[in-house]
């Protein structure tokens, strides 16, 4: 099933922040991780991911640094910052509100 574009866009920030909270990562690995966690349901494109990463960086939620990969290539890694962690907590709460509301209404539907 295809997840709608708007929903993908809205969930991008919390997903990225959550992944970076686990460990520092780079673009290609983030896309792979999202694919893995969503059981192949969420396939992000590069054209979507990098602009979001750069925007988060501009907003000082994450920061980037260059580091050598195993193959000896310079790779741009991203690391979550203190403000990013706060933002993640905030987003979590917001998503919980939405999630709870949806869950309740759907439960009522099935109960009635």
């Amino acid at each position: 099933m295809n997840v709608s574009k708007d929903l993908v866009a809205a969930s991008a920030t919390p997903l990225i922040l959550a992944i970076l909270k686990e460990y520092d990562s780079y673009g290609y690995a983030i896309i792979k991780r999202v694919k893995e966690m969503s059981e192949n349901q969420l396939i992000w494109t590069e054209g979507m991911l990098y602009p979001v990463l750069h925007r988060l960086e501009e907003h000082q939620l994450i920061e980037s640094y260059l580091s050598k990969s195993e193959a000896g290539r310079q790779r741009k890694y991203y690391r979550i910052k203190e403000s990013g962690l706060t933002e993640l907590e905030l987003q979590k709460k917001q998503w919980e509100i939405v999630h709870n509301a949806l869950a309740r209404t759907w439960n009522e539907e099935s109960n009635s």
């Binding site: 590069e46 054209g47 990098y50 602009p51 925007r55 501009e58 290539r73 741009k76």
Partner: protein, 453 residues
């Protein structure tokens, strides 16, 4: 035979050509492509299959650059004047603007100080005093140098060296006497700004002043600063004329105020603003100097070839007055500028293109014309004796000639695939030393040699 490296390079060049992506973006995407390819190869695909699939997955270049542009356009023009988005850059930008304002005011006020002590700008005949013309560079260039020293967070040692050179130069220039007919003094006036500009180069480049990359950036900066400077100065002149005319309409003559304040402060401010703008825009907007160079290099080539043909048909050899030699110096400098700015915008990895051949043709034509001119001046020089002006013009000619001849030789080697393009860049950036030394000789040694005449 499929060469993966070349394919990846041409892919990223293609991205670069689209212009909307920064180098860092491209680097990141290229890495992404490589990761994808590696994974596919590990899964058992051949390199060419992996490359094709990965490129396809990344999507077409238009779509990518369009997505990126959404982020980048926000910063494109805003970077210039409106506040950048992230707060650190915002603070730095505010500091830079403050520096520009303070330095412009300081430079203007410094220029006015001698007047307080009865040493006015103009002499009895209404001409600007030679002191101000000679020292004009010292009123503004140290501030530009300081601007870059602050921006680059230079160490104390660099500060001391660069300001030391400025002070030393100022002292020497003003201690030197000058006797009629003031030839060496005029030469100093012409060469001093060039010399000091190269000193600013050291401040601009900062720590990497020995690498050709930094010096090339300074050459780019010089070209852009020149173009922006002319535009900003034109704005100041329009403001000047406009103010004068409307006040004249109500019978108030404010020309004195305008020339003594608006022009002086405006001029210094124009210089500082130019430096700030060019520095701020750096890679955000496409450089203008290379575009001008590309437009005019074919035209200059046509004129020069036409000149050569006419000279050969009529048999008229150039009549060697000093003015003409200076004219030929200008021709060489122009050709060098055209060639240089075409090179400056060039991607080193790119294969030779039309403009490289045009460059070589242009250099060759210039060398032939100058060869003819030089033989004439050398004859005259030996017949009529040496004057400082002739020697300076000759020295310039030889310096430029050496520069262009070296470029031509390297170009030919490059076309023959003997070495790669970076060698041309290295030659050109190393050659800055020659100009530095030559201008220093004219400014500081010539007056002594020619007994301050």
């Amino acid at each position: 035979m499929f060469d993966l490296e070349t394919q990846i390079h041409s892919w990223s060049d293609h991205l670069r050509a689209h212009g909307k992506l920064s180098d860092a973006d491209i680097h990141e995407l290229e890495n992404h492509l490589r990761d994808e390819i590696e994974d596919l190869i590990a899964a058992g695909l051949t390199p060419d299959e992996s490359f094709l699939i990965s490129v396809k997955r990344l999507g077409n270049v238009d779509a990518i650059s369009h997505e990126f542009a959404k982020v980048n356009t926000e910063s494109l023009w805003k970077h210039l004047l409106v506040e950048p988005i992230d707060s650190l850059a915002k603070q730095l930008n505010r500091r830079d603007i403050a520096l520009v304002v303070i330095f412009a005011l300081l430079a203007g006020t410094l220029f006015k100080i001698p007047e307080l002590f009865g040493f006015g700008l103009l002499d009895q005949d209404g001409e600007i005093k030679i002191f101000f013309i000679k020292n004009l560079s010292f009123f503004i260039l140290p501030f530009i140098a300081a601007f870059f020293l602050i921006k680059r967070k230079s160490e104390l040692k660099t500060w001391a060296t660069i300001l030391g050179i400025f002070i030393l130069a100022a002292v020497i220039i003003n201690v030197y006497p000058s006797f009629d007919p003031h030839h060496t003094e005029v030469l100093t006036i012409v060469h001093l700004p060039l010399f000091l500009w190269l000193v600013i180069g050291a401040a601009y480049i900062g720590r990497e002043w020995q690498g050709s990359q930094g010096r090339m950036n300074f050459i780019r900066f010089t070209g852009e600063a020149f173009i922006y400077g002319v535009l900003v100065m034109a704005g100041v002149m329009v403001l000047f004329l406009f103010t004068m005319v409307i006040f004249q309409a109500i019978q108030i003559d404010i020309e004195k105020f305008l020339t003594e304040y608006l022009l002086i402060y405006g001029g210094f401010a124009a210089a500082m603003i130019t430096v700030y703008l060019v520095e701020a825009k750096k890679s955000v907007v496409e450089n203008f100097a290379p575009i001008l160079a590309k437009i005019f290099s074919p035209l200059f080539l046509i004129i020069m070839v036409a000149f050569l043909i006419v000279m050969m048909i009529t048999g008229n050899s150039p009549f060697m007055e000093r003015e003409f030699l200076i004219g030929f110096d200008f021709m060489l400098a122009l050709v060098l500028g055209l060639v240089l700015y075409v090179i400056s915008a060039r991607d080193i990895r790119q294969p030779a293109n039309l403009f490289d051949y045009l460059n070589l043709a242009l250099i060759m034509a210039a060398l032939v014309i100058d060869g003819v001119a030089l033989s004439a001046i050398l004859f005259r020089l030996s017949a009529f004796g040496i004057t400082p002006n002739k020697l300076a013009a000759l020295g310039e000619n030889l310096a430029l000639l050496g520069n262009l001849a070296g470029l031509a030789w390297l170009y030919i080697g490059y076309f023959k695939k003997k070495f790669d393009f970076s060698k041309l860049i290295k030659w050109q950036t190393d050659y800055l030393y020659v100009y530095f030394i030559w201008t220093a000789i004219v400014v500081f040694i010539f007056p002594i040699v020619f007994r301050f005449n």
